[in-house]
């Protein structure tokens, strides 16, 4: 079966079939045959060309976080059309809601409403646990709304700005 993934913002096509624990996969012409066993919830042990590899998969709001060999990948399994659209918009389609990662205080607003922003451009700075953290736009677009002002107290999950 064919699957479309967004891995760290980039689309990836994956053909995968299995029988028992035997998995066969193909990614851009690269073929993989491996043995895969779920050894713990969310932990897969892979035997790939006699290499022993452990992969941990956890689900979060954005999709999956996948760790192996000390590296982390952010992966979403999506339908192909969504993948194309998102790839064109730096991983996010439609309006992106910038949310507060934790309770804190807005110490600086770096852009004005309706400003054009580039991918990774800072939108505002919040302070929490005595540390300042610049929140960036994950996509190129226009700041449609700034929901907070400088010195505002925010709670985790509050929408701070919308980039479209």
């Amino acid at each position: 079966m064919k699957h479309t993934l967004i891995i760290d913002g980039e689309p990836l096509e994956l053909e995968l079939s299995y029988s028992g624990t035997q998995v066969e996969a193909e990614i851009s012409g690269r073929k993989y045959a491996l043995d895969a066993i779920a050894v713990e919830t969310g932990v897969y042990w892979l035997n790939w060309n006699n290499r022993s590899i452990e992969v941990a998969v956890t689900a979060d709001k954005a999709g999956y976080t996948v760790s192996l060999n000390g590296q982390r990948f952010s992966i979403e399994v999506v339908d192909p059309r969504t993948a194309l659209r998102r790839a064109a918009q730096g991983g996010y389609d439609g309006a992106f809601e910038l949310r507060a990662p934790m309770p804190g205080k807005v110490v600086k607003v770096l852009v004005a409403e309706n400003a054009h922003v580039e991918t990774n451009q800072g939108i505002l700075v919040i302070e929490a646990m005595k540390m300042q953290n610049e929140l960036k736009s994950p996509k190129k677009g226009v700041v449609r709304r700034l929901a907070v002002k400088e010195a505002a107290a925010v709670n985790a999950g509050d929408v701070l700005a919308i980039v479209e």
Binding site: Y18, V55, T58
Partner: protein, 508 residues
């Protein structure tokens, strides 16, 4: 040993703390057959230290100033539970003289030094004045705030540039200014004064010589109430980020027997100056010429105490409890043996890709390492949500080896076994530090991590294969295949249905 005083040992100890240090104290109590009482805030319902204690008392909302810092609530829990002593851990009320005094007033033993020692060592200037009487040198500078610019100029000239201007009421890295030459002094004085006035309501500042390429080395001391004092080696705490320790070692790779005994003697003089008993730590700055300067005394158990325990074989928490119960120290200085080397990594819930911002949240998967030479002092478990309200330290990983390099290899091996998912952690940073030539050669100063982070390029080092295998695993997980998960088919919904439902949720 002092078996004769056994009868006065505590029956029940309340731990006025949370997280890994509360767990650490509970473990010591359990080994000694002493009952344990945990206090906890609303955010810590179900926390590990609460699960492990014999008795538990909820003491209020999540913010520590409404729970862990409220003396009356802690004393009320101690009275209700009939605890005969309180261990304060570190942080929170551990260096609060008023708390120590309030415990005494209630007839409860505070496991730590006297309120007077806490108060004396808690004031930077008073502490320096007190140790100076015993001939212990602090960083050259003024003991009193400078009264005029002219005085500042003459003091700066006498200690020699570069200097640091420090706000008397300062702390946490605020109200500090580096001055490299006399030309900069005037404007620096003006700026520091106004900053100090704004931040602390007091524009008093004092002057200190700036120590170049400093190392931060501290001496563990133990004193009983019968006049016996020992120092239990030193700890190297130079690897810091934002004035916070990240990696600690025992012994310090730059301290030899000669320097150790000089620092130990100085530490014992500080103990005398403070009239100190129980466990404490004397912090020094050491320059490349091996001159050391008294920085401050921490009048409590240190976060990094396990490295000392691994190398000396002492159990510092048990010794704290025994000394507090009136027992004599069970060993003399010459009986202390240091063996091998230990390293500690402080595992924080923080995001290395986002300026090490705290990353609280639910731990979805936790597999701590084990095996030869490894000790882990953790305060969390798989399924626990690390609260946003407290310090993001989740665990301390300690490795012991016959040599420093063996301890490093064991730590590297342990870190490679360590698996934390669901939250971000600084695990990967430790691998970078431990593999770094400056660290391995012990050739570092307090600026090491800042330089390392600056030199680090953002490009990740993953291979295409790792990325492909990650993609394969995510599809396997997404499909929830019965053959792979081991679930019975009737418990498993169609992958299509699950996928459709998830997408539906995402669009809400």
């Amino acid at each position: 040993m002092s078996g004769g005083r056994r009868s006065s040992m505590f029956k029940k100890i309340l731990i006025a703390n949370r997280g890994e240090i509360a767990v650490r104290v509970i473990r010591a109590c359990r080994e000694m057959g002493i009952g344990t009482v945990a206090v906890y805030s609303e955010a810590d319902r179900g926390a590990l230290h609460v699960r492990m204690a014999d008795e538990v008392y909820e003491i209020g909302p999540a913010p520590s100033r409404e729970s862990y810092l409220v003396i009356e609530k802690i004393l009320a829990a101690a009275t209700r539970s009939k605890a005969d002593a309180i261990h304060p851990g570190y942080g929170f009320l551990s260096e609060n003289a008023a708390f120590a005094r309030a415990c005494a007033d209630e007839g409860i033993t505070f496991i730590g030094p006297s309120p007077e020692s806490i108060a004396l060592m808690g004031s930077k200037i008073e502490a320096r004045r007190a140790v100076a009487k015993y001939g212990v040198q602090s960083v050259p500078g003024t003991l009193d705030p400078v009264s005029s610019d002219a005085e500042a100029r003459s003091v700066a000239a006498s200690v020699g540039y570069p200097i640091m201007l420090k706000a008397s009421g300062g702390g946490g890295g605020k109200g500090l200014r580096f001055v490299s030459s006399s030309e900069e002094l005037e404007s620096a004085l003006r700026n520091t004064r106004s900053e100090a006035l704004a931040a602390f309501g007091d524009d008093a500042i004092y002057i200190e010589k700036f120590i170049e390429k400093p190392r931060h080395i501290e001496v563990q001391v133990l004193a009983d109430r019968h006049g016996n004092v020992i120092f239990a080696g030193e700890r190297e705490c130079t690897i810091q980020r934002r004035h916070q320790k990240v990696i600690e070692e025992c012994p310090s790779p730059v301290v030899d027997e000669e320097l150790r005994s000089r620092m130990g003697e100085a530490a014992l003089k500080v103990v005398k100056a403070a009239g100190y008993y129980n466990a404490g730590t004397v912090e020094f700055l050491v320059n490349p010429e091996r001159h050391f300067y008294f920085l401050e005394m921490n009048t409590r158990l240190q976060v990094e105490h396990p490295v000392t325990e691994m190398v000396t074989g002492l159990d510092l928490v048990k010794l704290q409890i025994r000394v507090a119960a009136g027992e004599k120290l069970p060993l003399r200085q010459e009986e202390l043996v240091m063996r091998g080397a230990a390293i500690e990594c402080r595992i924080y819930a923080e995001d290395p890709d986002n300026n090490f911002f705290p990353s609280p949240g639910k731990i979805l998967l936790l597999r701590p390492p084990a095996g030869p030479g490894i000790r882990e002092d953790s305060g969390v478990y798989s399924g626990w949500t690390v609260p946003i309200d407290y310090d993001p330290l989740i665990s301390k990983l300690v490795a012991w080896g016959n040599t420093r390099l063996e301890a490093i290899s064991r730590m590297q091996r342990a870190l490679s076994e360590y698996c934390i998912e669901g939250i971000q952690s600084n695990l990967a940073l430790f691998q970078e530090i431990l593999a770094h030539a400056e660290f391995r050669n012990a050739d570092f100063d307090t600026g090491f991590i800042d330089r390392l982070l600056k030199a680090r390029n953002g490009a990740s080092t993953f291979t295409g294969t790792d990325r492909d295998l990650a993609a394969i695993a995510s599809v396997l997980f997404n499909s929830q295949r019965p053959a792979v998960t081991g679930d019975t088919p009737q418990n498993v919904e169609s992958a299509w249905k699950l996928d459709a439902r998830r997408r539906g949720l995402r669009n809400l």
